[in-house]
């Protein structure tokens, strides 16, 4: 039996529930409803061991929306239905083993640089989608000829195996596994039986005929010259044996028909290739990982942006992110402004200051997605990137007020901090948006300093935004906390944010500008009050139109 063609992991493994999928496929062949066969198998598939906990970052990074809207496959102008939940699970749990990441990066690198190989992979995926359609019968259409459906599945399955064996033989990356798998199956006895059965289906016998044509063009003669059966084919039986076989099946409790004979033969062939057929389910999920990554790259390029496979360096080295953009903005139809981010040391705490709506939170999202995608072995949303390996990701970007929350805003924030320290491993990426903004600045600054000081002991790669500008300036001047850097939102000559980030601490949050931009100046509010007084008198009840 050939090893499952796992192209997501350095060590090939079976990740889907094999026996459950076998049962589902058997039922599909038997004509029973098997809708969702692929989806159920992939959603419950195991993923590589991971130290990352999705609950600590997935919602803050809008990971589900990112998977749904940024990771898309387009083949020939069509967008096949993908299994988003499987992809979400893959992305939310980056493998702990760097070898797995490297394995995936090599495949993506090869696909990026070998267009024909990518085309073959897309064709393979299209065939797998057709196989999924035949097996699942998503339209629940009545199958009038069950044997015909089974043979169609087997025809497609054989072409899939042939494609696997031939189209990826020159691959240098893990894609070579596909070729090895296909070749190994092709050399096996069950595959030969499959080929013989399909050959029997296509050409049981050859009939030589002679057709006579009259002077007016009409056919006036038809003579069968010879009938030659494919005698070398193991499925070809003489007529009398075919009759006896039908009779035998009838006695054994089956129906007396040719289709029952064919059904038994198909069953015998399929039973020899069940594991290989189940492998196709897993392979479909694997292909979606790579093709969706390529789709993400295509969308970025179309928006005049660039993605890359980042360079991993030690966390003592400097961080370099060139042309970093936020893919969540891209999927919203906004062309994001790419920016450069750098810091002298990866394992450091970076305080980000700047005006409101200056792009600080978007930067945190971009940094989080970049780290996540990089450690999954995918392209990152940057033209070039040099990043370090993170043992986890903790993000605190959204702080919504909940109906049932037990504490006030400060209390909730303190609980966040407590939880952060409960879970934070050494060397993790930490993204904190406006730490301690729920209380008065003087008391908030004390807690802020405590958190940053204590957290530095874990050598995180921390990015923290704050509007405590004086406090940030003091920390910069004192330099008491080791490995701390400061970046601020760059302003243009009109003191408007350029969405670029430069070293330093911002002098102002430009709240007045933002208030003016949003219509919250004294004159603007006074005008609104006067308008309301004219339209809605203080007494006299409701006014009819």
């Amino acid at each position: 039996m050939a090893i499952a063609p796992d192209i997501l992991h350095a060590d090939a493994t079976r990740r889907i529930d094999w026996e459950r999928t076998r049962l589902a496929i058997t039922m599909a062949f038997a004509g029973a409803s098997s809708g969702g066969l692929f989806a159920e198998a992939l959603e419950s598939a195991t993923v590589a061991p991971s130290y990352w906990r999705p609950s600590e970052f997935a919602e803050e990074l809008f990971l589900q929306r990112f998977v749904t809207q940024c990771l898309r496959i387009k083949i020939g102008g069509k967008q096949p239905v993908m299994n988003g939940r499987h992809l979400y699970r893959l992305l939310s749990q980056p493998p702990a083993d760097p070898a797995v990441v490297q394995f995936r990066r090599e495949i993506l690198f090869e696909l990026t640089n070998d267009a024909p190989l990518r085309t073959e992979l897309e064709k393979l995926y299209a065939d797998l989608c057709r196989l999924r359609g035949l097996l699942e019968n998503p339209g629940a259409m009545r199958v009038w000829d069950a044997n015909r459906k089974r043979l169609d599945i087997l025809h497609l399955f054989k072409s899939l195996l042939d494609r696997l064996a031939t189209s990826f033989s020159h691959a240098q990356s893990g894609l070579r596994r596909l070729s090895e798998f296909g070749s190994e199956v092709q050399a096996s006895e069950p595959f030969k039986a499959l080929a013989d059965l399909l050959q029997c289906d296509a050409r049981l016998a050859t009939v030589d005929v002679r057709v006579g044509v009259g002077v007016d063009g009409s056919v006036n003669g038809f003579e069968v010259i010879s009938v030659n059966e494919s005698k070398g084919n193991p499925f070809v039986n003489p007529v009398w044996r075919r009759w006896l076989a039908k009779f035998e099946l009838f006695v054994r409790g089956y129906r007396f028909s040719d289709s029952e004979v064919l059904a038994r033969l198909v069953d015998a062939v399929v039973s020899g290739l069940e594991d290989e057929l189940i492998s196709m389910v897993q392979l479909l999920g694997d292909l979606e990982f790579y093709l969706s990554a390529l789709g993400f790259r295509d969308d970025a390029v179309a928006a005049d942006l660039a993605v890359c496979l980042p360079e991993f360096v030690e966390t003592t080295e400097s961080r370099e992110l060139r042309g970093l953009f936020n893919p969540l903005l891209l999927m919203s139809g906004v062309r994001p402004v790419a920016s450069d981010v750098s810091s002298p040391r990866l394992a450091s705490t970076t305080l980000i200051t700047g005006p409101n709506s200056g792009g600080k939170t978007r930067l945190l999202q971009s940094l989080g997605l970049t780290q996540l995608l990089a450690q999954c072995g995918m392209f990152v949303p940057a033209r070039a990137a040099r990043i370090g390996w993170a043992s986890g990701l903790v993000a605190s970007l959204i702080e919504e007020t909940k109906v049932d929350q037990a504490e006030g805003r400060l209390g909730m924030e303190l609980m966040r901090i407590r939880t952060l320290f409960e879970r934070l491993p050494a060397g993790a990426l930490v993204l904190l948006d406006e730490l301690c903004s729920g209380t008065n600045p003087s008391e908030g600054e004390q807690i802020f300093e405590l958190v940053v000081t204590m957290m530095s002991q874990l050598e995180p790669q921390a990015f923290i935004t704050t509007h405590f500008l004086a406090f940030a300036g003091r920390l910069q001047q004192e330099g008491k906390i080791p490995n701390m850097s400061f970046v601020q939102v760059e302003l243009d000559q009109h003191r408007r944010p350029t969405y670029q980030f430069v070293s330093g601490v911002a002098k102002t949050s430009l709240a007045a500008h933002t208030a003016e931009r949003l219509g919250v100046t004294g004159d603007q509010l006074s005008a609104l009050i006067q308008q309301n007084l004219r339209v809605r008198p203080l007494s006299g009840g409701f006014q009819a139109n």
Partner: protein, 339 residues
């Protein structure tokens, strides 16, 4: 049990999978699991069907064999009977019919006796030859279609007996003794062993010709063959063979006579009798003799029962006398017996 779905070209692994699929041993195949009860019922039905077909075939085979054996036995028996018949023998009946037809015309051609009969010894020698005998009304003998029925009604009578073994005296008593002997078929009739009635020829000769053999060869079912065998067994084949080999034909024709005269209880009445002896080897007449008979001279007690026999015996004696050149006795000259 191997399956007919498995072929020699299949690899052992594939053959095993086909067997597993056929026998239902392949697990986890919902909807395709074999149904043991259905299979058992169908197997029982198959066994019953095979047994029925086998029985039918056996019965048919046995019937065919019986039919063949019966036919061969029948043909063997028939051929054994036929083997002694020559082509001329098979033609005897036709020649008999032709001779009777030639001499049954109303007009009588006149008495005639061949020279080689006109002595005691020659006559005796001629009468010892195998001879077919038939007697009947002259007017009916003229119709060819009636001859078969006439033959069936005809038997060796007092005429034949008296011709071969005449009474010592031409008295009523002596004639009556011969007539009674002919009637009861007593030991005296043994002298007529060389005389064969015509009837067996009609009854059995058709069974011995080629048509009947061909019919036997194609006859079926066995019941038809059995009927043919019973016909063959019932037919007087031996008598027919003897008749077919006869050298001469002896015919007695009773002319109509005077319808106004009395008729005795045995049918006898005044009339003329014709006696014709034909050599069947060359169809030539050796003897033609016509003589009147009148039972009125017979005593009343005897006449009612033996008039015909007495007259027949008397004609035979007269014939012998005529052949040997002696004076014949007319009916009116005869004397009744004294009781």
């Amino acid at each position: 049990m191997p399956s007919f779905l498995v072929t020699k070209q299949m690899s052992p692994a594939l053959a095993a999978r086909v067997m597993a699929s056929v026998t239902g041993r392949r697990a986890k195949t919902p909807g395709k699991r074999r149904r043991p009860l259905t299979a058992a019922l169908r197997l029982a039905a198959l066994v019953l069907m095979v047994a029925t077909v086998g029985t039918v075939i056996h019965i048919r085979h046995r019937s065919a064999r019986q039919l063949r054996e019966t036919r061969e036995s029948l043909l063997h028996a028939m051929r054994a009977e036929v083997s002694s018949l020559s082509a001329a023998d098979r033609d005897t009946l036709r020649r008999v019919e032709a001779a009777i037809s030639a001499h049954s015309a109303p007009g009588y051609a006149g008495d005639w006796i061949a020279d080689d009969l006109q002595s005691e010894s020659r006559l005796a020698e001629a009468l010892q030859l195998p001879t077919i005998y038939v007697r009947g009304p002259q007017d009916r003998m003229a119709h060819p279609g009636s001859l078969a029925q006439i033959a069936l009604d005809s038997r060796k009578d007092a005429f034949v007996l008296c011709l071969l073994d005449p009474p010592e005296a031409r008295t009523e008593k002596a004639l009556k003794a011969k007539a009674r002997a002919a009637t009861v078929r007593g030991k005296l009739m043994q002298v007529t062993a060389n005389i064969e009635p015509l009837a067996p020829l009609f009854q059995a000769l058709p069974l011995l010709n080629g048509d009947w053999e061909r019919r036997a060869m194609v006859a079926e079912p066995i019941e038809t063959l059995s009927r043919l065998r019973k016909m063959l067994e019932a037919a007087p084949v031996e008598a027919a063979v003897r008749a077919a080999k006869a050298h001469q034909l002896l015919v007695v024709m009773d002319e109509a006579g005077d319808a106004k005269g009395p008729t005795e209880l045995d049918g006898e009445r005044p009339h003329s009798m014709r006696v014709i002896l034909v050599d069947l080897s060359n169809d030539k007449v050796r003897l033609r003799f016509r003589h009147d008979v009148d039972p009125s001279w017979i005593s009343p007690n005897t006449r009612a029962e033996y008039a015909s026999g007495i007259d027949s015996c008397g004609v035979a004696m007269d014939l012998r006398s005529a052949v040997l050149g002696r004076e014949t006795i007319l009916a009116s000259d005869r004397q009744p017996a004294k009781h």
